[in-house]
């Protein structure tokens, strides 16, 4: 195990991944330090979602190495369940558990994975619901909430595990426009509190506001990995320029 850089949170080293004959990740390497906010963007099908899902081992890789907080995700002997409980993840379609109410959704991982008592979990859930401003919806079922509300619950569910980092896989792309900001606001708050975050998104406003670095991907490759001022100032690659002009001009 490698603890030499104690503030290194996520390290992706020459990762390759294929779906059958299609290569979705092509020699990807990336570092995220503690407290950093990284935005990953790129056209659809560029491999961003695959990349983020390999970091907590939801998607296996064919070669390369991924280390999270000194623990190798790609090592077969690693207890992935334990590791995943320390990394929060937010999905494009929220993926709240439909048969549980909001509070139960936030409690499930706490009681079953972290073995917290029911009272502890309940308290934590309430505190988090307050934080995402959904206290009055504590006993509703996911299908009774708007998309934006569901996504905020999903963020609370991730935070309940007191993760050392949070992964966001296009957290706002399934939302109606008027709901995007309520979710982004929660994320901005989180970033300002110092949470290590890796966010796949097209929300360039969000990236400008809080991202330390922007990673641009295309065809499974990381084309650019630059501090956000540099990226928005003058992206080096044509592809990134073209992409930016598309997502910024509307």
């Amino acid at each position: 195990m490698n603890y030499e850089k104690s503030n290194m949170m996520i390290k992706v080293k020459s990762v390759n991944k294929w779906y059958g004959k299609i290569q979705v990740l092509n020699d990807c390497s990336l570092n995220v330090s503690k407290g950093e906010v990284i935005v990953v963007c790129g056209p659809s099908g560029s491999g961003k979602s695959s990349l983020i899902k390999t970091i907590n081992g939801l998607e296996p890789v064919n070669s390369g190495e991924i280390i999270v907080s000194g623990i190798s995700v790609t090592d077969k002997s690693t207890n992935l369940d334990q590791m995943r409980s320390k990394i929060g993840m937010v999905f494009q379609n929220f993926e709240l558990f439909p048969h549980m109410n909001v509070t139960e959704n936030i409690k499930l991982g706490q009681t079953k994975v972290l073995r917290r008592t029911n009272e502890e979990a309940e308290q934590k859930a309430q505190a988090l619901l307050e934080r995402v401003d959904l206290t009055e919806h504590a006993h509703k079922y996911p299908s009774q909430l708007s998309g934006g509300q569901q996504q905020r619950v999903a963020i609370a569910r991730g935070l309940a595990m007191e993760p050392m980092a949070m992964l966001f896989d296009e957290p706002t792309s399934a939302l109606d426009p008027e709901m995007i900001n309520e979710v982004l606001d929660v994320m901005v708050k989180l970033a300002k509190e110092g949470m290590t975050m890796m966010v796949v998104t097209h929300e360039m406003g969000f990236a400008r506001k809080v991202a330390d670095r922007v990673v641009f991907m295309d065809y499974g490759k990381i084309i650019e990995d630059a501090p956000s001022q540099d990226f928005f100032g003058s992206p080096r690659s044509d592809r990134a320029q073209e992409f930016l002009s598309k997502v910024l001009n509307h």
């Binding site: 899902k53 334990q82 995943r84 993840m89 999905f91 993926e95 048969h99 991982g109 009774q144």
Partner: protein, 240 residues
Amino acid sequence: MNYNWDWGILFRDPYLGWMIGALGWTIVISILAWIIAFSLGSLLGIFRTSSKKSLRLIATCYVELFRNIPLLVQIFLWYFVFPEFLTDEWSRWVKRDMPYPALTTAVVAIGLYTASRVCEQVRSGIKAVGEDQRQAGRAIGMTEVQVYRFVLLPNAYRIILPPLTSEFLTIFKNSSLALTIGVIELTAMTRQIEEYTFQGFEAFTAATIIYSLVTFTVMALMQQIDKRTALPGSFSKGAS
């Protein structure tokens, strides 16, 4: 049509008692076979969708084997063939000494056969819950077993309640196959009454009404349960 009607026959001693007793056997076979089919079928359905290739293979082979041989032939295999492959001692036990050999064989055969169908239903239910729900469960650190227990299965069973009801009713109807190895259940009893009294029409009618009534009752009941267990905000699909 030249036929002497006598509906009273159904309510006369001993035939009324015979019919009630026979219905009892039909229900016993159905419920016991369902217990096997549901538990084994659920386990196989989990295997079929698991991340382990070997488990998936086991479940696939089971399903293909059991659903591509007619149930009647399977009953004969268990009743006539299977004991011959056992040691003498066990063979004697299966053929004679175990309680109700024919009935037990029918229960096991129908249960194992239907397990393959339940497996497919459970699989389609889990598929319908979706890969993303599985990932969401894994992402908060739950083990694969926990994800099945707390996320996939509760939702899958809710989705497949109507087809599972149909499967139970299929067992109820298929329990009549037990008559081929000598179990006197409801259908066999109508035949027996016909042979004793020549009032086949009345006996068949009675059995027909009983089968229909039980079926419609179970369906109405499950529709209620389906409504009750429906999640708030989602609409009930109703039993098929």
